[in-house]
């Protein structure tokens, strides 16, 4: 019996079989697909039943929404003291920034948000101008608006700044400075010029081996000792410089990982075409390298955002600091005040950090489907 075969006519392409769908099917497949999964599902449901109702009670049903003092929140059976948050809300956001001038902060935030949207969403705006705006023009606008002293705006000293405003100023400066600086350091570390390479390595290793709290402390306490008499550095500025340098060292290592992932052939092809080192880096290598390390970079950003709370150590009041300062207010003394304050602060941090995380996922998805490596 021979095993030969010759096709006489081509088979048509058929549509795939339709699978039965529906909620019950999903539940069966995902929650009860095996004995272990079923047990875990039951355990999870039990935990939810234990945890969620008391949480809801505390946050919503037993919470105090109206009131003018801690007395309203004291007493048995009372939940979150949202009245406290409501009363202090302005301080939580602006610190002691004068009420009449708070529009300046709002305007600065709006300008910043516009810049971010222009930078981070797909659009037809010229990339060069967007970068100039985000990294050069906006910082100047923001400084003039927030600090004042020119264009007819009154000066608001940084010691009056506080709350979410300070958190954002420190975080945005740290994030905005760490990426370009980190890229330069990573390129410096990979450089063939020994002086550049050694300096880059020294810088990175120095800042990575010191805790941020020490950096802030040193910047605040020790820096004035080295400066000539009478000359002093604004406290917030010291924190900004410390945070920027610190996080750029971490960013450098993340970017270095990305650079290492680019095949040597890419660099060779770019150079063989006659592109200079900086042209090759800017057009070919860095776009690919940075795309590859989006998870690591955003991870750094999120960590940095939360690390900004350490500025409390040098007497600056970020969101957490101002919440802490306020729950010692005697008018609002109650068993629930501190907890409510912390939950509020945690929620605000969660909003920003989760937002960054989701954006990272969006970016990764968009870049993967648009380009096929």
């Amino acid at each position: 019996m021979s095993e030969t075969f010759v096709r006489s006519e081509s088979s048509p392409s058929l549509p795939p079989p339709v699978r039965r769908r529906g909620i019950l099917r999903w539940v069966q497949d995902n929650l009860f697909s095996s004995w272990l999964n079923s047990l875990l599902t039951i355990a999870a449901v039990y935990l939810l039943v234990l945890a969620v109702p008391p949480l809801l009670d505390w946050a919503l049903f037993d919470a105090v929404f109206d009131g003018t003092s801690g007395a309203a929140c004291s007493g048995a059976g009372k939940g979150a003291c949202w009245a406290f948050v409501e009363a202090k809300f302005n301080q939580f956001i602006y610190g002691r920034y004068p009420d009449a001038e708070q529009w300046r902060v709002n305007l600065a935030v709006l300008l910043g948000a516009l810049g971010l949207v222009a930078l981070l969403t797909p659009n037809k705006l010229p990339k060069g101008w967007v970068l100039v705006y985000v990294f050069l023009l906006f910082p100047i606008f923001a400084f003039v608006l927030l600090y004042g002293g020119s264009v007819g705006l009154s000066v608001v000293e940084t010691s009056s700044w506080g709350g979410l405003m300070v958190t954002l100023v420190v975080a945005v400066t740290g994030i905005g400075a760490s990426l370009p600086l980190g890229v330069l350091l990573a390129l410096g570390r990979a450089s063939r010029m020994p002086v550049v390479r050694t300096l880059s390595i020294l810088f990175i290793e120095l800042w990575r081996s010191v805790p941020l709290i020490t950096v802030l402390f040193m910047a605040s306490v020790m820096l004035p000792l080295f400066l000539p008499e009478g000359m002093s550095f604004d406290k917030l500025l010291r924190a900004l410089i410390g945070v920027a340098l610190f996080s750029s060292a971490y960013m450098a290592e993340v970017v270095r990982g990305g650079l290492a992932a680019i095949p040597a052939g890419q660099y060779e092809a770019a150079r063989a075409l006659g592109l200079t080192y900086w042209q090759s880096m800017g057009q070919i290598i860095l776009p690919q390298a940075l795309r590859a390390v989006i998870p690591g970079v955003v991870n750094n950003f999120i960590g940095l955002f939360k690390d900004t709370t350490l500025v409390l150590i040098i007497g600056l009041f970020d969101l957490l600091g101002i919440v802490q300062a306020n729950y010692t207010d005697p008018t609002w003394a109650s068993p629930q005040t501190a907890v409510t304050g912390y939950v509020f602060a945690a929620f605000m941090f969660w909003v920003f950090c989760f937002g960054m995380s989701r954006y990272s996922v969006y970016m990764e998805r968009r870049l993967e489907t648009d380009r096929n490596k």
Binding site: P263, G265, E268, A269, R271, A272, L273, G274, Q279
Partner: protein, 247 residues
């Protein structure tokens, strides 16, 4: 073949650490000449052509390309690279840019060409390599043969005087080799000065003015293709040819 010498290599030596990879290479290439370099792997043929556009630096001897001597002077190296186009075995297209952008990048950034002019130039070369309809696609969406043809177009967009090919068809599936070789034959017939490292003997016979056999870092034999394939003199050449052509 008379014409100005566009590449002069004299007493070239190169080491990778202790390994003597190129030994006393002497070669002159004239304008319009087509040179094919063959040899077993590890013979140094890729290293040799990579020295011509300074992707590798030679340790001893002289290389003069288009009147410019290759040294550590970066400015002069960039000048040389503008006139020497290279096509790689692994294509090395830029995956985050479209086919058209891959081709217009160098003319815009290196020759300061305005964008619309660069695009017109790129489209003309994409037509010449017979894939103008792929201009808006990304490299990952193309087959290997198409990608290599884009790589050739990309190199041609700089209007180089010399084209270097480093085993351009070695990473391709057999059915796509012909389309790339056709483009290269077309290029050769148009008078381009070419140095091509390849295993495609049919191509060598068709196109080469000279065939060079390299082994263990040295040029063993160099002849016109007829004489090279019909009448190899050196024993090592004979051994190599019998393996490749298989008789």
């Amino acid at each position: 073949m008379t014409g100005t010498a566009v590449i002069e290599i004299e007493k070239l030596h190169k080491w990778f650490g202790d390994f003597h990879v190129l030994k006393d290479i002497n070669l002159t290439v004239r304008e319009g000449e087509r040179i094919v370099v063959v040899g077993p792997s590890g013979s140094g043929k890729s290293t040799l052509i990579r020295c011509i556009n300074r992707l590798e630096a030679h340790d001893q001897g002289r290389i003069v390309v288009d009147g410019i001597e290759l040294s550590d002077d970066l400015k002069r190296i960039d000048e040389v690279r503008r006139e020497v186009g290279m096509v790689f075995q692994q294509f090395n297209l830029f995956p985050h840019m479209t086919v058209l952008e891959n081709c217009t990048l160098a003319p815009i950034w290196v020759r300061n060409m305005p964008e619309h002019e660069a695009e017109a130039l790129a489209m003309s070369f994409l037509e010449r390599v017979r894939i103008p309809e792929q201009a808006a696609k990304y490299p990952g969406q193309l087959s290997g043969g198409q990608q290599q043809r884009v790589a050739i177009a990309r190199a041609l967009c700089m209007n180089p005087k010399i084209m270097l090919f480093d085993e351009p068809t070695s990473a391709l599936d057999p059915e796509m080799i012909k389309e790339v070789l056709d483009v290269m034959v077309d290029l050769a017939d148009g008078g381009m000065t070419m140095i091509c490292v390849t295993h495609e003997m049919g191509f060598a016979r068709r196109v080469a003015d000279r065939v060079i056999f390299m082994d263990e870092g040295e040029i063993i034999e160099m002849k016109e293709p007829e004489a090279f394939f019909e009448n190899p003199e050196n024993e090592r050449t004979k051994a190599f040819l019998s393996q490749i052509i298989g008789d």
